[in-house]
């Protein structure tokens, strides 16, 4: 039974990440069209266009995968067949695993059981995330190398340098967050954010660690290799970078990995800085507004509200990333390195130092103490 519950939770986490990944593909199409004043995906209508509105979403959700998976899978001459096959999976698999430690809801009380809504209750969840993020780079590197193409190789080299550079700033931003909340457990971090500052404001990470949020968000976007950090796949310079030589289903796996990365950055930002599944002033027994007003709610409804809150926040940060991706131009490579090493890294370092000093001097400043 316990095994069944764990299995179900993993399935839910996987479904969330798959659904978000697929939906993002459509949101990106339509969103970019909106930003660029175009119509966007509007073909592949059903019923011969009788409907008054177009079903562009059908295009993306059904026609696109169908096209990609039926396309010929081309392996270029002189490529390393095994690594060429392996690389897409190495890019996608660690990302799926990352979602396993992200809490998507509070405890669910059903039939006398309390189930923590987190697929895997890993103690040091942040370390788990860091480990998997650091492994994600292999898909890019090997995809670039195995293709036996100059463009792909350049993309792979750029990708590896970019990702290890930004991992440092990302890790340091996480250190400040850990100092604030005093735990490595993601579910615990979310629980701590349910407290209130001065009895009014929810104790979300963003109010304690605005700088860490900034650094983490930028570094996270750089890790996901999308514009303005899309140098490993810069289409105007490298055709498609590390996946130039990929086609059909293998290419779609790389594309999927892109969107899953967006979802993971959004989920981590939500969890660490915006209270995860916490709804302000909502407790296990209902709302307790600062004015003294209380609205009792059943436990199940509270849990459902929490899951919805997580999904809404997730959606907002996915959208923010798509907005940035279609607004900012690509950085030059030296600008990319300057940003990572000369801006983000010092900011993150100072942030860690200041946080540590404050945590020592002002007992009670941190949420955990």
């Amino acid at each position: 039974m316990d095994l069944l519950i764990v299995f179900a939770k993993c399935l839910v986490a996987l479904l969330i990440v798959l659904q978000v990944g697929v939906l993002l593909l459509w949101v990106e199409r339509k969103g970019s069209a909106l930003i660029q004043d175009r119509v966007g995906a509007n073909r592949a209508n059903l019923f011969g266009g009788i409907l008054p509105f177009n079903l562009g979403i059908v295009n993306t959700l059904m026609a696109d995968p169908l096209k990609l998976f039926t396309k010929e899978d081309i392996v270029p001459e002189g490529a390393d067949r095994f690594l060429h096959w392996l690389a897409p999976f190495l890019a996608l698999f660690p990302l799926f695993l990352t979602f396993a430690v992200i809490p998507f809801g509070d405890v669910l009380e059903i039939g006398g059981r309390t189930i923590d809504l987190q697929a895997v209750e890993a103690g040091p969840g942040i370390l788990f995330v860091l480990a998997l993020v650091s492994l994600g780079v292999y898909g890019v590197v090997l995809g670039g190398w195995a293709s036996n193409s100059r463009y792909a190789l350049l993309g792979g080299i750029r990708g590896s340098a970019q990702m290890i550079s930004y991992e440092i700033a990302m890790g340091l931003a996480l250190v400040a967050v850990v100092l604030t909340f005093g735990t490595l457990d993601l579910q615990q971090i979310v629980r701590e954010q349910g407290k209130l500052m001065w009895g009014v404001v929810p104790a979300w990470g963003v109010f304690y660690q605005p700088l860490a949020l900034l650094v983490f968000f930028i570094a996270g976007m750089a890790e996901s290799k999308r514009a303005p950090f899309d140098l490993p796949e810069a289409e105007s310079e490298l055709i498609a970078g590390f996946f130039t030589e990929y086609s059909g289903s293998k290419q779609s796996v790389f594309m999927m990995a892109d969107f899953v990365e967006v979802a993971i950055v959004a989920a981590l930002v939500t969890t660490l800085f915006f209270g995860g599944w916490q709804v302000p002033w909502l407790y296990r027994d209902g709302f307790h507004l600062p004015g003294g007003l209380s609205i009792p709610l059943p436990s199940l409804l509270v849990t459902i509200l929490g899951v919805l809150a997580f999904l809404v926040k997730l959606g907002i940060f996915c959208w923010l990333q798509i907005l940035i991706r279609w607004t900012l131009p690509r950085l030059r490579y030296d600008q990319l390195m300057n940003l990572g090493w000369k801006r983000l890294l010092p900011i993150a370092l100072v942030n860690v130092a200041v946080t540590a000093v404050l945590a020592l001097l002002l007992q009670g400043w941190t949420v955990a103490s």
Binding site: L83, A131, S134, Y138, S160, M163, I164
Partner: protein
């Protein structure tokens, strides 16, 4: 026990692939596999933080650096394992001798796993040790890293 034998066999095999494969890229990948298996061994030995660090630092950073350099320099396969045959023979003989010697000094004792505190191998326990008893070596390590960074930058600059 089964877990140990599986991990140990795989780790030894992938370590052998690392040093014998002609292509440096495959060698590096086999080494990544070895490192991940060793991380699993650390977890088996209740050293959880060290296991995570092994993945983050070794597999995630150091090996990516290796692959980066291999790709940057162009990974040509070695035609054969060069080196004079006398050297190779010597290497094998001394390796077997070394393995034998190292393995025989080992006295097989059972690990008593009963009275282990719950916090063993946790981040808190390691940090406590690191920042009290080992504080000075820790600071020296940061000095070492600083020297390494400066050295690497100087080496990279001089070339240009």
């Amino acid at each position: 026990m089964t877990a140990f034998w599986i991990l140990a066999t795989l780790a030894v095999l992938s370590a052998i692939v690392t040093i014998l494969h002609r292509s440096p890229v495959y060698g590096a990948l086999a080494l990544v596999q070895t490192l991940l298996l060793i991380a699993a061994m650390f977890a088996l030995l209740d050293a959880h933080l060290v296991a995570f660090l092994q993945v983050i630092v070794y597999a995630g950073a150091i090996m990516v650096l290796f692959l980066f350099v291999i790709m940057l320099l162009g990974a040509e396969d070695e035609v054969r394992l060069e080196g004079r045959s006398a050297l190779r023979l010597g290497a094998l003989v001394s390796a077997v001798a070394l393995a034998f010697e190292l393995a025989t000094v080992v006295v097989a004792k059972r690990v008593d796993g009963s009275a282990l505190p719950a916090s063993f191998g946790s981040t808190e326990a390691l940090a406590e040790r690191l920042f009290s008893r080992w504080a000075l070596p820790f600071e020296l390590t940061s000095l070492l890293l600083m020297v390494a960074v400066v050295g690497a930058v100087v080496l990279a600059r001089r070339k240009a």
